[in-house]
């Protein structure tokens, strides 16, 4: 029974997703699904950030870098021509295993690239390694120091991508092939696949939310919150605080990279700005806007705001909007605007109720 009640928000979310699509179809605005799909992928990064910042209490100003590491790994591997290894025995073996696949490039030449699935696993593996290498020393730092370390890491990734020809420098990488997850389920930007891609993204977000909800309502989630509140007391209670912080950080980096891979296949490319400090800061702004330690708030706020931003609603004030969001939320409602809103509505409801009862009595 309680389990059912816990699952209710998930059902509502799924319903809302379906309703949105239906509404957009009825309004003949299904083209909006493209930006909504992208916003959902970005939301995954913010959800991961919510785990590290909201629950474990560790700042990260470098999550854009993990998104980029995922996206770029996928993009490079699936577009780079490995034909010169064709003769080598290991390449043949990998081809047998469908790690390498034959393909046509933009100019119609036959090339051999890594398959999207293999590239996906490579991206996740690389992220795992990088996040561990950065997280291990960085998470021993606190507060401002951790913030600067993660910011510095993000900038290193950003500048490296910008300065390297193999990553397309300032142009990024284009022509990333589509990714067939299963027969009939292909991640690509074709308008025919718009609806199915929207549902792929929505399902992915929903599944990840479910997994994280389970995680947060377990001994692991409590351990993370304990670390956030009082690290020494948590340690004295038997929690290996360093290991837990690192695992939470790596998990959230993996979520960012996962989003990066999907996003890159969906938009058929990725650019260096994805690793930029402004992107990383924007994720933090969105997490703050959603209330940090609030999976649903973070999902709704980040999908909504990113959607509006991608539709170009904020025009040339795009960055400024997110800066203002950061300032306003922290100075007015540091727990996010949803909590005070909920309280206000609760207050309103309780103020209305006695009146309702009085009316009943009168009737």
């Amino acid at each position: 029974m309680t389990r059912l009640r816990q699952l209710l928000p998930f059902a509502l979310f799924a319903l809302a997703m379906v309703a949105t699509q239906g509404l957009l179809r009825a309004l003949e605005m299904e083209y909006c699904l493209t930006q909504l799909t992208m916003a959902l992928y970005y939301a995954i990064v913010v959800i991961g950030l919510c785990l590290v910042m909201g629950y474990a209490g560790q700042v990260s100003l470098g999550h854009g870098a993990f998104f980029a590491i995922g996206g770029y790994t996928s993009a490079v591997l699936t577009t780079h021509d490995f034909s010169r290894f064709k003769a080598a025995g290991w390449a043949g073996g990998l081809k047998q295993l469908h790690v390498f696949v034959g393909q046509q490039d933009l100019f119609g030449n036959q090339i051999m690239t890594v398959s999207p699935w293999a590239a996906f696993f490579a991206a996740m593996l690389l992220t795992l390694v990088v996040a561990t290498l950065i997280g291990y020393p960085a998470l021993r730092l606190k507060g401002h120091y951790l913030a600067m370390a993660t910011l510095g890491f993000g900038l290193i990734v950003n500048k490296t991508v910008l300065g390297t020809a193999a990553f397309g420098a300032a142009d990024g990488i284009n022509g990333v092939p589509e990714w067939t997850l299963a027969p009939g389920l292909t991640i690509c930007g074709k308008s025919a696949a718009r609806v199915s891609n929207y549902y792929i993204a929505a399902t992915l977000v929903l599944a990840l939310l479910l997994l994280l909800r389970n995680l947060l309502h377990s001994r692991v989630g409590r351990a993370l919150q304990a670390i956030h509140d009082r690290e020494t007391a948590a340690n004295a209670m038997g929690i290996d605080t360093a290991a837990y912080k690192l695992r939470a950080f790596v998990l959230s980096a993996l979520l960012a990279a996962l989003a990066g891979v999907f996003f890159t296949h969906y938009t058929a490319g990725i650019g260096p700005s994805e690793a930029g400090a402004l992107k990383s800061v924007r994720y933090v702004a969105l997490a703050a806007a959603g209330g940090m330690a609030n999976l649903w708030g973070v999902t709704v706020m980040s999908t909504g705001l990113n959607y509006l931003s991608l539709r170009g609603l904020f025009g040339s004030y795009d960055h400024a909007v997110f800066g203002v969001i950061l300032i306003l939320i922290i100075s007015i409602a540091p727990d996010g605007p949803l909590k005070p809103l909920g309280k206000w509505m609760g207050g309103l409801a309780s103020r209305l109720r006695p009146e309702g009862r009085r009316e009943h009595g009168a009737a």
Partner: protein, 297 residues
């Protein structure tokens, strides 16, 4: 040019940039010790200083424009403290970080809309781009002399201010022992505002003198802030004078990495130094390890 000359040239350019990082680092330190806020918007003061001075220079003589820019930006700094940090003092480190980042973005975007995305610069204070002074066989632009002299004088003046004047000592007292400072009748909120104003003024001055060399652009503040922070960390956060050494070190290392690495990776080396120092000696190269550097609440 022979190798020795080239080295000297790199060294000079490193010291020039490094002295600017040093000023930014001192700005970080001033605010950090007085308020506990690490002001991510520190670089924006430098950018604003340059921008305001460029605009004022259209109407008034250069020295007046520079002085005007310093005063205006200092007022902006004070205003930020009063508007945003007075009420927020009891907020968590995370909140303070976020709010200064938000300010940094908003200031940048405001600059973009007030001016535009064009690169501008102040005229050379004396001479022009091609005039140079020969020193030990290296060609030095007179503006470099301006930068170094300005930074040297400012740092010395600041040192005297903090050490020997009443408000300076009061400011230091607030950071080392706020309770005692309060009991001694020092108005701590005012000291905090003063630290923001002073720090902004320093940044603006640096922004003016460096503008002819590196140009000013609405986005030019953020990288300076990060390198300035690297300098502050290398020197040991909370120690304004060690920040000068930190700044010079970061500047020189960056200049020499340019000679080894492709220009595109220019900043990468500076950030890599930052990470290395943070991971290995978070208390700075010159500081002593203490719980404080790593443990914050």
């Amino acid at each position: 040019m022979d190798a020795g000359n080239l080295t000297l040239q790199y060294l000079l350019s490193g010291i020039t940039k490094g002295s600017i990082y040093a000023v930014v680092a001192i700005g970080f330190n001033l605010i950090y010790s007085a308020t506990g806020v690490l002001n991510f918007a520190q670089g924006e003061f430098v950018m604003l200083g340059g921008m305001v001075a460029v605009t004022l220079a259209h109407f008034v003589p250069l020295p007046v424009a520079v002085a005007g820019a310093v005063v205006i930006v200092a007022l902006v700094g004070c205003l930020l403290e009063v508007l945003f940090f007075r009420k927020l003092r009891h907020h968590s480190v995370l909140h303070l970080i976020i709010i200064t980042i938000g300010l940094s973005i908003v200031i940048q975007e405001a600059a973009l809309h007030i001016w535009d995305e064009k690169v501008r610069s102040l005229p050379y204070f004396t001479g022009n781009e091609i005039s140079s002074i020969k020193l030990f066989g290296a060609a030095i632009s007179p503006q470099v002399i301006w930068v170094l002299a300005t930074v040297a004088v400012t740092v010395a003046a600041l040192h005297v201010f903090l050490k020997f004047t009443l408000p300076g000592r009061a400011m230091r007292a607030c950071s080392s022992n706020p309770e005692a400072a309060m009991l001694a009748g020092i108005n701590i909120p005012n000291m905090r505002t003063l630290s923001f104003g002073l720090s902004a003024a320093l940044g603006a001055l640096a922004g003016c003198v460096i503008s002819p060399i590196t140009m000013t652009h609405y986005e030019s503040g953020a990288p300076l802030a990060i390198k300035g922070f690297a300098a502050a960390i290398v020197g040991g956060l909370g120690n304004p004078m060690a920040a000068v050494l930190g700044g010079l070190l970061v500047g020189v290392l960056e200049a020499f990495s340019v000679s080894r690495l492709p220009a595109a990776y220019n900043d990468v080396s500076a950030f890599a130094i930052l990470l290395l120092v943070l991971f290995v000696r978070p208390h700075g190269l010159f500081g002593r390890p203490g719980g404080e550097a790593v443990r914050e609440h």
